[in-house]
Symmetry: C2
Subunit: 407 residues, 2 copies
């Protein structure tokens, strides 16, 4: 009646899942959409920056010949606002009124700041009172030469990189697609929030949880739906979803009960990767490969679903996105309190952390450690691992912890 499952450790399950996938295909994307995508081509400067001699101040451009014996009075031959040009050579005795950021004539040697100027009675003249050592001109290529590497392949595009691309007129880049993820919550007991709740049923909290977590991690939720416990319907829908989604995350139905159809599908229809992890919560978490699509089947318990997302789904998202590292950062931490329960399996507790004055991450469990607990997910800022055994961990002992990204 009870099937015997092979148990692996969380770390193995994570590695197996990550090894199943590689980064998704690349595509051209406009930079306005490309934030939080990984660049899949190196970007070289298409021109020098600045590509013209740029005035650092509002002021007056002068030739080297005039740059002496201050105060000097020069003839103002043009006004050059930002974005316009004066394309004649500047003669001795001439100056142009020039704005910050405007192109400086080739043979101008210095910009005298506006603050060092004084109007004369002649509206076509200006008196320049004093000079400075600095030319106040940014020379061509001062920041980048044409051909310089701006951003390398593998770079995760942030606000600064988007602006750098824009500054060089690069409007489209080749990036790795962010994953399309289908969420399928299974369970005849599930009712969507906003509907009446018949006796014995519960509201579906895992689906909004996963939608939010996927959104936070820049995955696209292409489908989010729930199904009653039914083998055939579930199998058929999963097969359909394999044609839509890059990966599928399911909740529920992975245990050994009579209605755990995801578990049955994993062994009967799919290529099973694992269906028992030496971890709490979430020991029946299942990995499978169906119709060329990876399915990560999480336990339906909210705590297990939350923990499973961070430990098992997020690393896969990172691989799919071509990221070198997960957003969830693993650290060595110290217990801020005792946790001395007997653990048959490695236990991954929802916890909170803070940084001590001496640079240690102090972690402690938050709220209930029951896998069915709902009331601590929103307080959780880290997961911490209590290895299996009778001892647990005492205050001050080292533990592994994962700092969660929640923004």
């Amino acid at each position: 009646m009870i099937e015997k499952r092979n148990t692996i450790r969380m770390e193995q399950a994570r590695e197996i899942l990550c090894n199943q996938v590689t980064h998704l295909p690349t595509r051209k994307m406009r930079i306005g959409e490309a934030l939080n995508h990984v660049l899949q081509e190196p970007i070289f400067a298409p021109f020098s920056a600045p590509y013209f001699r740029r005035s650092g101040y509002d002021g007056f451009a002068i030739t080297e010949l005039d740059d002496q014996n201050y105060p000097i009075t020069l003839r103002v031959v043009a006004e050059v606002p930002c974005g316009e040009t004066y394309n004649k050579p500047l003669k001795q005795g001439e100056t142009i009124r020039i704005m910050t950021g405007a192109k400086v004539p080739d043979n101008a040697s210095k910009i005298i700041m506006l603050e060092q100027s004084k109007e004369t009675n002649n509206p076509n003249e200006i008196m320049l009172i004093n000079t400075q050592k600095s030319s106040n001109i940014t020379e061509v290529g001062a920041e980048f030469a044409k051909g310089d590497l701006l951003l390398d392949r593998g770079h995760l595009l942030n606000a600064g990189s988007i602006s750098l691309l824009a500054a060089f007129g690069v409007n489209e880049v080749q990036v790795i697609q962010n994953p399309k993820v289908a969420i399928l919550s299974t369970g005849s007991e599930l009712v969507a929030a906003g509907n009446p709740l018949p006796d014995g049923k519960i509201y579906n909290s895992n689906q909004p949880l996963l939608e939010s977590l996927l959104h936070i991690h820049h995955a696209e939720v292409c489908v989010a739906e729930q199904l009653p416990d039914n083998y055939l319907d579930t199998k058929n829908r999963l097969l359909e979803l394999t044609n839509i989604a890059d990966i599928i995350v399911t909740t529920g139905g992975v245990s050994v009960g009579d209605f755990d159809f995801i578990a049955d599908i994993a062994t009967q229809e799919a290529e099973l990767l694992f269906n028992k992890i030496q971890m709490r919560p979430g020991s029946p978490t299942t990995g499978m490969w169906l119709n060329n699509t990876l399915i990560i089947a999480l336990s339906g318990n909210p705590g297990a679903c939350f923990t499973g997302f961070y430990l098992l789904v997020e690393p896969v998202l990172a691989v799919l996105m071509g990221k070198g590292e997960t957003a969830t950062k693993k650290v060595q931490a110290k217990m801020a309190t005792d946790y001395t329960k007997n653990n048959g399996y490695d236990r991954f507790l929802r916890g909170i952390y803070h940084l001590s004055e001496t640079g240690e991450y102090l972690v402690e469990p938050v709220g209930s450690d029951m896998s069915s607990a709902l009331g601590n997910l929103h307080l959780t800022t880290c997961l911490l691992k209590i290895p299996r055994g009778k001892i647990g961990k005492r205050k001050g002992e080292e533990v592994e912890a994962w700092l969660l990204s929640s923004k």
Copy 2:
């Protein structure tokens, strides 16, 4: 020719801006949309959780009278999957097959796990081999009593809180609206990426920068456009935008030059808050109040725009969103290198940080400190403050730093 401006410090400018605004109006929002919004009502549990006695395992529910002299053989009177109920009292000698999460009959005292059962020759009977101390039943209200505070007013909704709301069937909540921000880049020299670049003009990098930064900080960019330098057009467009946006962020045109029309509008049309900050980059950054709308007018230099966003715009967004703190976290840090330039003004350098083994934030400048520099924004993970003066800061000295949120 040169107007004299009153100079205030960055910290004052920031305080002035934040004091101009309060949080935006609240509105009902479906929980699927409410992530990263601040709750504006306390949410109390509408029912206990669990609201029925819940089976913790797949197994067999038995009465207290049968819970002795194992092994025992009982008559299986029903099968109760998750989400269904068995509403008759259980009699002595009877058991129901029950699934994890299903409702346990009122007078059942224990769930015997499936692993402790054995089929008999009679398909209507089951032999239960052994018992456990635990009832394996989660009692009504074990996690929350009806009326318990689930989430308080002021809570910033994260994935866990969305799932908690869903679990209680709460489908809509009263939240503070996230701000609608209009971006107006001014400058006749600006060309949008993707277009040819006439001599003397530059690509507009500030607009994509601000769009990305606003997106990261969960503000809605309601308008993003650029305008040539023209007083009347700029004034008219700003007035229109005051009817659309909660705040307006402009770039460029704030200096003292002949084409700095934002500066003129600030003094001639608007209620000027400040137009000179004792900071580099971004000293001409201007705050004004136009037609009941706050305008933060940043310098057009990329470095100034970036720095100004984090130090002056993000705090205002946090107030508008009803957040108790900014996403940009201020810390005391130590210089990892010397920076000994003479600073006429407080200088806010783009930098990188790491956490030392002894828990100190070590910071150092990254790339060029020129306000026109573009090539370090994507590398910047913090801003650090070098106070005005001739000395700068030496390696090991304390500085204020702001750790940037970039996700």
